[in-house]
Symmetry: C2
Subunit: 191 residues, 2 copies
């Protein structure tokens, strides 16, 4: 059975998110959100009480979708290969999105400095990512694709720090070649 209402809400949240990234949270008005989502005032307010509530719902939706993508990529193949794929994807996503209306770690961080509920989510996401890396690395050490004698939690911590680090470099317009070399060095700690 199809669920058109739920589908529309997800679509609306995704449209809303685009506006928030493009204009910034402060500059986005309810009028902007009505235009972007194509929803009527009454149906938008029937679901959400405020701009902030729409933002948090859209952000959660985005986070869920990214976490799902991450788990999928990291589960398909030998751990060493999947970690490389994951970071290649994170870098190429950051290139694609640079300057456009889509989420970056920087934007999340800028919002986190002014909104404690956003900060809690961003912090939690880093911890969640660290756990997923750690599990993947443990699997890699068991199957043999990861040879490093460092512990999986230690290695996971290095990679969780590298994630925003690489994204910042893409955003700062670093050369592709420089970033690729840095990723190669980073992945070599697994060997």
């Amino acid at each position: 059975m199809s669920r058109p209402q739920e589908f529309n809400t997800q679509e609306a949240l995704s449209q809303a998110m685009q506006v928030f990234w493009r204009k910034g949270y402060e500059a986005t008005s309810m009028a902007d959100l009505l235009i972007a989502t194509g929803l009527s005032k009454s149906s938008l307010y029937a679901t959400f009480n405020s701009k902030r509530e729409i933002f948090l719902a859209a952000f959660d939706d985005y986070r869920r979708s990214r976490a799902k993508d991450m788990l999928k990529i990291l589960s398909e193949g030998p751990a060493r290969v999947t970690l490389e794929k994951f970071f290649q994807m994170a870098i190429s996503d950051a290139w694609t999105c640079n300057g456009q209306g889509c989420m970056s770690i920087n934007q999340a961080v800028e919002l986190a400095t002014v909104d404690i509920e956003v900060a809690n989510r961003v912090r939690g996401d880093f911890l969640g990512m660290e756990q997923v890396f750690s599990k993947t690395i443990t699997r890699g050490q068991k199957e043999g694709s990861i040879k490093s004698s460092m512990t999986a939690p230690d290695l996971a911590k290095i990679f969780v720090v590298a994630f925003p680090g690489l994204q910042v470099m893409v955003r700062a317009g670093c050369e592709v070649d420089d970033i690729e070399k840095r990723l190669t060095s980073l992945l070599s700690v697994l060997d």
Copy 2:
């Protein structure tokens, strides 16, 4: 012999920088810069032709000062210890500055996305930092404070990625304890 004019220009640039960080580049007006620096319109325009010129001069001044601090810290003691000190300082600076009127990697990156001359400087700074790390690590491997068999350039690349990564985490309000643990894991690749 003292050089009062030069000293005043440096003071003025530092004051100007504070305003740029606090208000953001776009929102800063020439009037804001006159108030912050305490300079007259004629003396400000005698040295700089535009807001952008003031910004680039202030940014260069800030970059020179940070690069000097970095070289100093990394030269005083065994390489392994100086690298730890440098990262501890970078983290505690980021804590102190969080949300206040001072430079963060994020702000530099935001400006880099809209101004090619800022982007060139930020990219160059990452490359410069990578070279300084590499020299420090080479020294550490010679003196024995760094035992890792990875090459110095590879290790340097990991640390240059970690630098903005850790700053992003501070800015996102991650727990001190989580960040300290991540730094400890990161430094352990040197052992």
